[in-house]
Amino acid sequence: MKPALTVLCIALSAALSSQAQTTLRIRGSDTLGAKLVPSLAEAFKKQGGKASFDIAAEGSTTAFTNLAAGTAEIGMSSRKIKPDERTLCRSKSIDIHEIDIAWDMITVVVNKSNPVTDLKKKHVMQIFAGDIRDWSELGGAPGPISVYTRNTSSGTYRDFMFMAMKGREYGHYTQKMAGNEQIVSEVAANVNGIGYIGYAYVGSKGIKVVPVGGEIPNPAAVKSYSLSRPTFLYTNGEPAGILKEFIDFCLSPAGDAIISRAGFVPLSQVR
């Protein structure tokens, strides 16, 4: 009886500990979680990393709510952590550790058949704040502008407000889409649509990139592009064990290749 019980206990604890070690729960940004992090995870597993991944991407805010609740090992965020989120994590005795992972460039896109070829920075602000309502005001064909933005939990939503709109409020008439994919499909389906997406999505059908103030997003010159931003992974404390292995892999040359392929700019190439 007794040996049997011991064996059972050992088996159980082994099962539990292996479970805890190998499943990495990753939560947060849609920009990172839709393509980049899953492909990094896939490659990590392929090159022999002993971990399974559970990834859900519903906006950067979820990274911190999940870290604070202890329901994620890694939080992905397309913006820096806010002070009140830091406090929240501290009060749950989570020690937030920040890792730069890659740079992203927010890209303003319009429908492929839109004749507008260039927008001033001021115009972009006015369009998204609802001051400019019609394409004819910008030299396009007359038609009310349909503005598609990310939803309010998105890091991109907030970053764009800060980087392109000087902190102004989005106009009432903007439509809040669930993710980059949805913005792409609506802009592609609507001649009068405009939206912003992560650089990873610029190759999608039916849309075209509009230069903002003469700037076109270019991976070779990330830092000089005004809508570029670093993206982050957050962990509880200094990463260790399999977590550290995974993050080291992300920052390795092999990781860099995947990051470039996913439409981001790896840290080693940021200039």
Binding site: T65, A69, S91, R133, D134, E137, K176, N190
Partner: protein, 529 residues
């Protein structure tokens, strides 16, 4: 009489129903089964009550939290800035009209005049905007301090509470030290508001200058253009608003308390739902409610004729074979997951509606050609489709319940089949049909996935001045906002609580609709008897 039967019965039934002699003393098997059934019924009631209690517990704190936030909004001076900012924002709408007029004009002289006018509009607002921007920056800084103080104070209280409940002295000392580190001085609102108060005269003067400059620019506008006429027509109202704002600035009082009454008003009658903002979050309920109501009305208007006529046909005219096909097919609709319908809405119905709206011979329809394929009409169509099975089955039941004698009597009087249906059967079953419609409405109001994917998610009150074409505008809904935002907000924040308040209201609406359905059924039932 009972002894010969008992030998033939199966043993289990014997045990349950009959032989009391073998039962545990004091435990009647029949009573046990009864109470089991009773427990199942009461479990449903208890769960319902628990849901209500849970919603109330999470949501009820919203009012005090929102009151505190609005109080900060006022005391930090953000409200003062908004008094001037709200009317000034309309200047952009007017400038937008001028730009459009300029783009449409062919005559170079008119074009130049309009361009000058637009420049004049822009320069007119600059001095006021400059002052306002400075005031806004100051107010925002005050608010930032207040928020930081509140966050640290809450976490300090949490730490202190944790310290009080622990017994280990080392842990206790650590927690107390953390709490000590989180102590900062509260914000001196009355001191920080002074620069704003001092400069409001200046701002008011700038606003008056602005109206004067604007009037001058408007007078110089070229005539005979629909868009410039629109600008000219909107001008008096705009100027009056700015001037009222200038007087309101002077009477504004930072220390006036925000009453609970006005907080309730701000939630239930607020027209702005703004979250994750740099400036100020507002939780106004009206845009979401209008979205939900308009979509529900569209869905019911489509679903009612379809399901009721289908029910009449199936009940009165269809052959047995037809019945065997129609009923299961309609009821099968219910089995389609709503997320699948949502994807159909995006991929198929949206493009279909948009394509049809571009047909040239349909351009007389209000709102055509439509711009957004994700809109309220699209969502309404899909919800109608989802409501049809409920409404069809219940209407059909109602028609089935019409006493045979009524129909026979009608036939005996020589009425045709159609006369019988419309004069006898439908009026007799009207209570059931009405309650079927109301229950369909309940289903439509509560549906989430389809509206989240298909309604277009624009948080604004639809522009009803567009006439019936308003149904082709996008909107956001009560259910959609909960689904979209609840997963992402931090627990216990004002935003979290606001979403629970929305949940409470939604729950109340559902109860009301279901209550109405029951009341309708009962009221007409008594007439029939």
């Amino acid at each position: 009489m009972d002894s010969p039967e008992s030998s033939g019965r199966p043993p289990l039934r014997n045990l349950i129903v009959r032989s009391r002699t073998r039962a545990v003393p004091g435990m009647d098997p029949q009573k046990i089964i009864q109470s089991f059934f009773g427990a199942s019924a009461s479990a449903a009631v208890i769960v319902l009550v628990l849901i209500m209690v849970f919603l109330l517990l999470e949501g009820i704190d919203f009012l005090p939290t929102y009151q505190r936030e609005l109080q900060t909004y006022r005391r930090a001076g953000l409200e003062l800035c908004d008094i001037a900012d709200t009317p000034l924002k309309q200047q952009q709408a007017l400038a937008s009209l001028l730009r459009r007029a300029g783009a449409a004009a062919n005559d170079p002289q008119v074009k130049a005049a309009l361009s000058d006018a637009e420049d004049a509009f822009d320069t007119a607002i600059e001095p006021a905007a400059e002052v306002l921007d400075e005031l806004k920056a100051h107010a925002l800084e005050t608010k930032g301090l207040a928020v930081e103080f509140h966050t640290l104070e809450t976490s300090r209280q949490t730490l202190l509470k944790a310290a009080a409940s622990t017994d280990d002295p080392a842990v206790k000392a650590g927690l107390l030290m953390d709490a000590e580190a989180a102590t900062i001085a509260p914000v001196n609102f009355s001191g920080r508001i002074l620069p704003l108060l001092e400069r409001r005269e200046e701002l008011a003067a700038k606003l008056h200058d602005y109206t004067a400059a604007l009037e001058k620019a408007a007078a110089a506008l070229p005539a005979g253009n629909a868009l410039t006429d629109e600008v000219r027509a909107a001008m008096p109202a705009h100027i009056a608003e700015v001037q009222t704002a200038a007087t309101n600035l002077k009477t504004w009082d930072a220390d006036r308390p925000v009453s609970m009454f006005s907080v309730i008003g701000a939630f239930f009658f607020g027209t702005r739902w703004i979250t994750n903002s740099y400036w100020q979050d507002f939780y106004g309920f009206v845009p979401l409610l209008t979205g939900s109501v308009v979509i529900a009305v569209i869905a019911i208007l489509i679903a009612t004729p379809v399901s009721v006529t289908a029910a009449i046909y199936t009940n009165q005219f269809a052959s047995e074979r037809e019945k065997e096909i129609i009923k299961p097919v309609i009821e099968f609709i219910q089995a389609i997951p709503s997320v699948v319908l949502g994807f159909i809405g995006i991929a198929l119905v949206g493009d279909l509606i948009k394509g049809v709206s571009e047909w040239s011979w349909l351009q007389w329809v209000s709102g055509f050609p439509i711009q957004e394929r994700l809109n309220m009409f699209n969502a309404g169509c899909l919800l109608a489709f989802m409501a049809v099975p409920t409404m069809f089955s219940l209407s059909e039941d109602a028609l089935n319940n019409v006493p045979r004698a009524y129909i026979d009597a009608s036939d005996a009087l020589g009425a045709t089949k159609l006369q019988t249906v419309f004069r006898v059967i439908v009026p007799a079953g009207i209570s059931g049909i009405l309650s079927a419609i109301l229950l369909g409405l309940g289903r439509v109001i509560g549906e989430t996935m389809v509206v989240l994917l298909v309604a277009g998610n624009r948080i604004a009150i639809p522009d009803f001045s567009a006439g019936p074409g308003v149904i082709f505008q996008p909107a956001h809904t009560l259910t959609g906002i909960i689904a979209q935002e609840l997963g992402e907000v931090s627990r216990g924040s004002s935003h979290w609580q606001a979403l629970f308040m929305v949940g409470i209201v939604l729950f109340a609406i559902s109860l009301l609709v279901n209550g109405c359905a029951r009341a309708v059924a009962r009221r007409f039932e008594s007439h029939k008897a």
